[in-house]
C-alpha cells in the first residue's frame, strides 16, 4: 500500500483529535481526543518505519536498520497508558469536587 494512505489517515485522525480538544467541553471526550492524536502519531511512526526498513532490506537482507520507529511506538503506548491513569484520576477527583466534567469550570485559578 502506498505510504500516502497512511499519511492521510493519520492526518485525519490527528485533525479530528485537535478539533475535538478545541471544541468539546467534556473532559472525558477531550481525553479521548488526545489519545486519538497520540495514536495518529503512532500510526505514522509505524508506517514510516516500515517503509524505511523495506528500502534498507532491498540492499541488505539481514539488516535490522529502520525499526527504531516501531520500537518508539511501544514507548509512546506505555507513556500514554501511564498518562491515562493519571488523567482519569484527575477527572475523577474533579468530578467529586464539582459534580461536573466540564473543563470550563476549571478556570477558578483566574483572578
Amino acid at each position: 500500500m502506498p505510504i500516502q494512505y497512511y499519511i492521510v489517515l493519520s492526518l485525519a485522525l490527528f485533525c479530528i483529535g485537535i478539533v475535538g480538544v478545541l471544541t468539546r467541553r467534556n473532559a472525558i471526550i477531550i481525553f479521548m481526543c488526545i489519545e486519538l492524536m497520540l495514536n495518529a502519531v503512532n500510526l505514522l511512526l509505524v508506517a514510516f518505519s516500515k517503509m524505511h526498513h523495506n528500502t534498507v532490506l532491498a540492499a541488505d537482507k539481514a539488516t535490522q536498520a529502520g525499526i527504531e520507529g516501531q520500537l518508539f511506538v511501544f514507548f509512546i503506548m506505555v507513556v500514554a497508558a501511564a498518562e491515562v491513569s493519571v488523567g482519569l484520576a484527575i477527572i475523577v477527583m474533579m468530578f467529586r469536587n464539582t459534580h461536573s466534567v466540564d473543563v470550563n469550570f476549571l478556570n477558578r485559578l483566574k483572578n
Binding site: I18, V21, L22, R25, N104, L106, N107, L109, K110
Partner: protein
C-alpha cells in the same frame, strides 16, 4: 629665574583657596591681609622677574604636558619675556593697589561675602596671570576663560539684584561669542601648523607654511576674540553694563587688566598680524570706530561709572587703532598708562560713591572739591592724564598711537584727534559736574560727606603719581627721549612698522592735538562748573544719553527673536512635540498591553487554539521546501 616663575600665579591661587574655603571662619582683616598679601607677594616676584628680563634673561618654563594626542603636544608652559613681564607688573602692581583699596571699600559687607569677594578677586588675578604667562595659545585660552568667569562672578557679586545678574549674564554671553572666534583660531592654527606654542608659531617658517587666506582668517578670528574681551564694536555693550559690579572690580577688571587681554593677544601675535594687511586694516577701523562711537556716548552719560566705562571702551579703541597701524609698542604703552589713570579714575569714582553713600548720578553731586580734597586732586590728575596734556602719561602713549596713525593714513589721525577732544571734553564735564560748583544732593548727604580712609587714599595717591610720571618710560625721540619702552619691547615686537615723519610735522601734530584737548578742557570747565546740565537732554543729546539705542537695537534684532524662539521651543516643541512623543509611547504601551491582556483569558481551550495556530504557521513556514522561510530571508 626658572624657579621663580611658577610662584607668580601660585600666590593668588593660594589666596583664592584660603579665602574661598575659609570665608565663613576668617575675620575680615585676615581675609583682607591674605587677599592683598598674595598679590603683593606675586608683585615682588614679578619685579624680580622683570629685572632679570631687563638684563636679557628670557625664559620658557615647561611644567608638564597638558594635552598629548598623537602628533599634537600642548605643554603647560610659562613664557616670561619682555611683553609678559611688563603685563605681570601692571597686573600685580595695579592689582595690589586695588586689593588694598577694596579692603576699605567693601568693609560694609558681611564677612563671608567679604571673603567671597577677595576669593574671586584673587582667582581673577590668577587667571589673568595665566593668560599673560602662558607659552602657547591654549594656556592663554585657559586664563582667557578664567578671567571671563571671574568677571561674571564679580559683576553679579550683589546677586540679590536681578539687574546685576542680568548684566553679568550679558557680559558672559557676549564674551562667549568672542571666545568662539578665539577657539576657532586656535583650531585653525593647530590644523595648519600642528602646534600652538608661540615659539613655534611665530617663526618665519611657520608664516611661510600658511597661505595668505589662512593668516587672514586666523588673525580675524583672533580679533573676534579680542572684540569680545576688549569690548569693541559690535561686542562692546557688555562693558558699560558691567559697572553693576563693585567699583574696585570695575577698576581692576573692566579698566586696567582684563579688557586689555585682547590687546595683549594681538600684540603677542604681531608677526601674524603684520602678515595680513586685511586684518590690520580691520583692527584699525574697528578700533577707531569704537573710539569715536563710545566717546560720543560718554558725552551725555550722567552716571559717574558709565562715563568712565564708555571712556574705557573708547581708550581700548585707541589701543586697537595703534595695533592696526602697526604701533604695537604704542598700544602696549597705552595699556600701561591707561591702567594707571583709568584705575585711578575708577577708584576716585569709588571714593566719591563711598562718600555719597552709593549715589552714582553726577547731577546730584557737585562741589565735592572741599569735602574730598585727596580724591579731588588725584581725580583731576587722572583727568589731565587721560586728556593727553603733556607731560602726563596719557600724552605720550596717545601721541605715539596718533603719530603712527598719521603715518599710516592722515584721516585716521584726524578722527583720532576728534576722539581725543571728546575724551578731554567728557572727562572734564565729569570732573566739573562732580567736584566744582555747589552741592546738589540732600542735606543729609552733605552732612555725611567725608574723605575716604587711608586704605583708599593711598592707592589713589600712588596711582596718581604713576599717572603723572608713567609716560616717561616712553618719551619719543622727537622730544629728546630715547623711548626706553620701545627698546625694551623690541625683541618681542620684532615686526614693528617704523613710521618716519619729519620732526616738524610731528611737533605740529602734537601741538594740534594738545591745543584741541586744552580748548575742550577749558570749554568743559567753563560750561559745567557753574551750571551743569541737569535737564534731560533733547534731540541728539537724548540719542547719545540712550547710547544711540544700540541696546534696544540688539534687543530687537537678536535678543527678542532668540527669546521668542526659545519660548516657541519651550511651549510648542517641548510641550507638544517632545512631551507628546514621550507620553505617546507610554500611552501606546499601556493601551496595547490592555488589549493583549484580553488574550490571557484563562480558558484552556483558547490557549490550545493559539498553540495549534502557531504550529500551523510554523509548519507553513517549513513545508513546501521552505517556501515562506525563503521568502523572509531573501
Amino acid at each position: 629665574m626658572n624657579q621663580l616663575v611658577y610662584l607668580v600665579p601660585l600666590f593668588p591661587l593660594l589666596g583664592f583657596l584660603i579665602n574661598g574655603l575659609g570665608r565663613k571662619s576668617l575675620s575680615k582683616s585676615m581675609i583682607g591681609t591674605i587677599g592683598s598679601g598674595a598679590i603683593l607677594a606675586s608683585f615682588v616676584v614679578s619685579l624680580m622677574l622683570f629685572f632679570q628680563v631687563k638684563n636679557g634673561a628670557v625664559a620658557t618654563v615647561n611644567y608638564f604636558n597638558f594635552i598629548n594626542v598623537q602628533n599634537l603636544t600642548i605643554p603647560f608652559a610659562f613664557q616670561v619675556d619682555q611683553l609678559s613681564s611688563l603685563f605681570l607688573l601692571i597686573i600685580t602692581g595695579v592689582g595690589f593697589l586695588i586689593h588694598l583699596y577694596s579692603t576699605a571699600y567693601m568693609h560694609e559687607e558681611e564677612p563671608q561675602h567679604f571673603g567671597r569677594y577677595f576669593a574671586y578677586l584673587n582667582l581673577f588675578v590668577f587667571s589673568m596671570l595665566l593668560l599673560v604667562m602662558g607659552a602657547n595659545y591654549v594656556i592663554m585660552f585657559i586664563g582667557w576663560e578664567g578671567v571671563g568667569l571671574c568677571s561674571y562672578l564679580l559683576i553679579g557679586f550683589w546677586f540679590k539684584n536681578d539687574n546685576y545678574n542680568y548684566a553679568a549674564k550679558k557680559a558672559f554671553i557676549m564674551n562667549r561669542i568672542g571666545d568662539l572666534g578665539f577657539l576657532l583660531a586656535i583650531f585653525w592654527i593647530i590644523a595648519k601648523l600642528g602646534t600652538v606654542n608661540y615659539a613655534d608659531v611665530f617663526t618665519n617658517d611657520s608664516i611661510q607654511k600658511l597661505s595668505s587666506t589662512d593668516i587672514t582668517a586666523i588673525t580675524i578670528l583672533l580679533f573676534v576674540g579680542a572684540m569680545g574681551k576688549s569690548a569693541q564694536i559690535p561686542l562692546y555693550t557688555w562693558l558699560p553694563d558691567a559697572m553693576a559690579g563693585p567699583t574696585p572690580v570695575s577698576a581692576l577688571i573692566h579698566a586696567a587688566t582684563m579688557v586689555t587681554a585682547g590687546i595683549y593677544m594681538i600684540a603677542r601675535s604681531n608677526l601674524l598680524y603684520s602678515a595680513s594687511e586685511v586684518a590690520q586694516n580691520l583692527v584699525a577701523i574697528i578700533g577707531l570706530a569704537t573710539a569715536l562711537f563710545s566717546a560720543t556716548i560718554a558725552l551725555k552719560q550722567n552716571d559717574i561709572k558709565k562715563v568712565l566705562a564708555y571712556s574705557t571702551v573708547s581708550q581700548l579703541g585707541y589701543m586697537f587703532l595703534g595695533l592696526g597701524v602697526g604701533a604695537y609698542t604704542g598700544a602696549v604703552f597705552h595699556v600701561m598708562t591707561h591702567a594707571f589713570f583709568k584705575a585711578l579714575l575708577f577708584l576716585g569714582a569709588g571714593s566719591v560713591i563711598h562718600a555719597m553713600h552709593h549715589e552714582q548720578d553726577i547731577r546730584k553731586m557737585g562741589g565735592l572739591k572741599k569735602h574730598l580734597p585727596i580724591t579731588h586732586i588725584t581725580f583731576l590728575l587722572g583727568c589731565i592724564a587721560i586728556s593727553g596734556i603733556p607731560p602726563f602719561s596719557g600724552f605720550f602713549s596717545k601721541d605715539e598711537i596718533l603719530a603712527a596713525a598719521f603715518a599710516h593714513n592722515p584721516i585716521y589721525w584726524g578722527l583720532g584727534v576728534a576722539g581725543a577732544a571728546m575724551t578731554a571734553f567728557y572727562m572734564f564735564r565729569l570732573y566739573a559736574t562732580t567736584f566744582l560748583g555747589t552741592f546738589r544732593g540732600t542735606q543729609d548727604q552733605e552732612h555725611h560727606l567725608h574723605e575716604s580712609p587711608s586704605a583708599m587714599t593711598i592707592p589713589l595717591i600712588v596711582l596718581a603719581v604713576l599717572s603723572v610720571i608713567g609716560g616717561f618710560v616712553g618719551v619719543p625721540e622727537v622730544l629728546g627721549g630715547h623711548h626706553a619702552l620701545h627698546e625694551f619691547l623690541s625683541p618681542v615686537l620684532v615686526t614693528e612698522q617704523h613710521h618716519e615723519i619729519a620732526h616738524q610735522t610731528e611737533y605740529m601734530l602734537m601741538g594740534i592735538s594738545v591745543a584741541i584737548a586744552a580748548i575742550a578742557i577749558i570749554f568743559a570747565i567753563n560750561k559745567f562748573s557753574k551750571k551743569p546740565d541737569l535737564q534731560d537732554a533733547q534731540g541728539l543729546g537724548k540719542t547719545l544719553e540712550n547710547k544711540w539705542y544700540i541696546d534696544e537695537l540688539y534687543d530687537a534684532v537678536i535678543v527678542n527673536p532668540l527669546n521668542n524662539l526659545a519660548g516657541f521651543f519651550k511651549n510648542v516643541v517641548e510641550k507638544s512635540g517632545i512631551d507628546g512623543i514621550v507620553n505617546g509611547v507610554g500611552r501606546l504601551v499601556s493601551y496595547s498591553s490592555r488589549q493583549i491582556r484580553l488574550i490571557q483569558s484563562g480558558q484552556v481551550g483558547g490557549y490550545i487554539l493559539f498553540m495549534v495556530m502557531a504550529i500551523v504557521v510554523i509548519v507553513l513556514i517549513w513545508v513546501n521546501d521552505g517556501f515562506i522561510y525563503k521568502l523572509f530571508t531573501k
